[in-house]
């Protein structure tokens, strides 16, 4: 049933009234909590290296179809969190930036060539790179903020980036979409080469 114009007008006037009726937010529940969540949420989005790799995982999963389309997004956050935990515990992991740049190159190449390895191989490859991303980004909590809220924001943002990749990857059902995805893979691999160049520059 479609709402009538009168109903829409009433709802709009109610919303405007509520907006005008501004009160104190009482948002400061605990020191640093809101900031911790927002820091975690923004962290994966603020780094292009992280963004392109996460989207590449989603695109590749969409190209591979079931069960990879859901195995990869389920496996990635957990392995990434393992990497973050290693970073927090101070376990040394050499070549972090190289690993992140290599993830963009290899995942971009996999999307570009529409590689179809066995699901276990794809999961191991994605999981391997997830450790580097988690190690680099998961442990960078600004001082004075809540670690739990940062973790929640960080995991949610990473998962949403996968969701964006999968949503874009759904164009794979059309022939023009398959070509577009391969082009996106080229762009991701080129971005990875740029990140690698920056590491050694």
């Amino acid at each position: 049933m479609n709402p009538s114009k009168e109903t829409i007008a009433r709802l709009a006037s109610l919303c405007i009234t509520l907006l005008v009726y501004a009160q104190a937010a009482q948002a400061h529940v605990n020191k640093g909590e809101a900031a911790g969540f927002l820091s975690g949420l923004k962290h994966p989005i603020s780094g292009l290296d992280h963004v392109v790799a996460m989207i590449a995982v989603g695109l590749w999963g969409a190209q591979l179809g079931a069960p990879a389309i859901w195995v990869l997004p389920v496996a990635f956050p957990m392995v990434m969190a393992c990497g973050g935990m290693l970073g927090l515990l101070g376990v040394p992991l050499p070549g972090i930036e190289i690993g992140i740049a290599a993830s963009a190159i290899l995942l971009g190449a996999a999307v570009m060539m529409e590689l179809r390895p066995p699901i276990a191989v794809a999961a191991v490859l994605v999981g391997f790179f997830a450790i580097f991303h988690g190690y680099a980004h998961g442990s960078e909590l600004p001082a004075g903020q809540s670690g739990l809220l940062y973790s929640i924001g960080f995991v949610m943002a990473t998962g949403c980036l996968h969701g964006v990749g999968i949503s874009i990857g759904l164009v794979h059902r059309w022939s023009w979409g398959q070509r577009a995805l391969r082009l996106a893979g080229v762009a991701i691999a080129l971005a990875g080469i740029f990140f690698m160049w920056k590491v050694f520059a």
Binding site: A66, W70, M78, A81, G87, G147, L149, V155
Partner: protein, 204 residues
């Protein structure tokens, strides 16, 4: 506008004006009606992700296992939470955040892997979770005289959150909706892993 609608509006307006003319005591100050700690307990759950997320997680897990188990957990967890809190009120042991991380991790992994769990094990898990988190909450409220009301509000909020989330998951049958629940489990497990890292973090 028809005549009947105008008439109806006039009556509504008259009734509203009549209500305005009959001011009564608002009883808005919670201490005077004794409901303050109850609301504190309710809001505590929604403002404490370390308590809220495990409740959501066990609701998702119980929902995955069907209505019968969902109903069992629905009654077990809030009662265990209240009892744990009651015992916690009379003890003064410090909080252990490491065990909170474990509840995230265990429940998240069970959801993500759709692990086969015996009904008795899940019930035991709900009791353990409720008792432990309730105990931690109880140690925090022991200084209040009306901590029991706080725990009552908290347990009621746990009941409501459990009911909403498990009843949301139970009827899901489409493949992609079940996957969404598993992805949520993997996120919860990932949060638990990161929390564990924060707990044992080595100073730089």
């Amino acid at each position: 506008m028809s005549r009947s609608v105008a008439h109806h509006r006039a009556i509504t307006l008259a009734f509203a004006l009549l209500c305005l003319l009959l001011p009564a005591r608002a009883e808005a100050h919670l201490p005077s009606i004794g409901l303050g700690p109850v609301y504190d307990g309710i809001f505590h759950l929604f403002l404490s992700p370390e308590d809220l997320i495990p409740v959501i997680a066990i609701a998702l897990l119980a929902g995955q296992k069907g209505a019968a188990l969902g109903r069992r957990v629905l009654w077990t967890l809030p009662v265990a939470w209240f009892l744990g809190g009651f015992i916690g009120m009379y003890s003064a042991h410090p909080k252990s955040s490491a065990l909170t991380c474990v509840s995230f991790l265990v429940l998240g992994l069970c959801i993500a892997s759709t692990a086969k769990i015996a009904p008795s094990v899940l019930t035991g898990l709900a009791m353990l979770l409720g008792f432990f988190h309730g105990y931690l909450n109880g140690t925090g409220v022991s200084r209040f005289d009306d901590g029991t009301y706080f725990l009552l509000g908290l347990s009621l909020a746990v009941f409501v959150v459990l009911a909403i989330f498990s009843s949301f998951v139970i009827p899901l049958h489409k493949q992609w909706t079940l996957i969404v629940v598993r992805v949520a489990g993997s996120w919860i497990a990932a949060m638990g892993l990161l929390m564990l890292g924060w707990t044992f973090r080595r100073a730089p």
